[in-house]
């Protein structure tokens, strides 16, 4: 086992999971105090601007998840190793959660500030398209009957679908948009007050820990599901499945049991 693999194994082991969970809870508690008590309300938007401390981290983690899907998909296409496919699936699922959360939190912010829950603004529209792309990725994973085909097809979509991520980020710069321009990830210094920036950075760090925890748990669940399905396939065929291939369909265990 290589050094990087050993480190990854340690991080995704049960002990690593517990450490990440503790750090994530501590981070979220600190972030809640900073964003709800310490940071001042916005001079123009008032209290509702506090939604920024959950909306922005959710958007950042959607970007991070889909970038992980892109890297894992490209790595799978180059190496055909199932661990990359598993990582891509885990990151896509968590990314869809955070992308959906970004849209819902944006709508909650938009209603009092813009006067509407939703508008066909470039940033909102491209984000909705992003969500649809990765929902299609998850749907594709459930449709393909062969594990190799499932991994290949979803890896191709994971690479191609990533094109929308920079479009979402740059949409407020390229097109006239109701959504505010970037205040932190922009050329030049951030255009945000120091105390608000500190609260935002702590929130981003805390939510990133939550993301890392969710990914490790999802990877473990993925391995358990693969093992259960592999054993079901062995029971059906009477042969041990030791070739490291993923089994074809998730429902096999139920059927195998009823056949037995």
């Amino acid at each position: 086992m290589k050094g990087s693999e050993r480190m990854m194994a340690r991080l995704t082991g049960r002990r690593g999971e517990q450490v990440l969970a503790g750090a994530a809870v501590a981070g979220l508690a600190t972030s809640a105090v900073l964003s709800l008590r310490v940071a001042p309300p916005d001079a123009v938007q008032g209290e509702v601007q506090r939604l920024m401390y959950v909306h922005v981290p959710a958007a950042w983690l959607a970007y991070l998840s889909f970038t992980t899907v892109f890297v894992a998909s490209a790595a799978y296409l180059l190496t055909s190793r199932t661990r990359w496919d598993r990582l891509g699936a885990a990151a896509a699922e968590v990314g869809v959660l955070f992308c959906g959360l970004t849209i819902v939190l944006g709508a909650l912010w938009g209603k009092p500030v813009w006067g509407t829950w939703w508008t066909w603004d470039p940033r909102l529209t491209t984000t909705a398209v992003l969500l649809l792309i990765y929902l299609a990725y998850l749907a594709l994973r459930r449709m393909a009957d062969s594990p190799g085909r499932r991994a290949r097809w979803s890896a191709v979509l994971g690479v191609v679908g990533f094109v929308d991520v920079p479009i979402v980020h740059m949409s407020v710069v390229w097109w006239r948009s109701l959504h505010q321009a970037p205040t932190v990830l922009r050329p030049g210094a951030p255009t945000i007050a120091g105390s608000m920036l500190a609260a935002l950075l702590v929130a981003v760090a805390a939510f990133t820990l939550v993301w890392a925890y969710l990914i490790t748990v999802r990877l473990r669940v993925g391995r358990l599901e693969e093992r259960a399905a592999t054993q079901a396939l062995s029971a059906r065929t009477g042969r041990p499945q030791s070739n490291g291939q993923l089994p074809p369909v998730v429902d096999v265990p139920e059927r195998a049991r009823s056949d037995a």
């Binding site: 049960r14 809640a32 509702v48 959906g100 912010w109 358990l224 599901e225 259960a228």
Partner: protein, 49 residues
């Protein structure tokens, strides 16, 4: 709805989404372990990377 209502709704939605997803993952892990145990007759080992 007052501004703080939107803020509360946002934070509660976030907590519910993250908590709900974690519960879902726990349920999936339990189901996979149960299926493995039913097939082999042995309790499933914890998954390793």
């Amino acid at each position: 709805m007052p501004d703080l209502g939107y803020v509360a709704a946002g934070y509660l939605t976030t907590a519910a989404a993250l908590g709900g997803y974690l519960l879902r993952l726990r349920h999936r892990a339990r189901r996979a372990r149960r299926q493995a145990t039913a097939l082999t007759g042995r309790p499933a080992r914890p998954a390793r990377p």
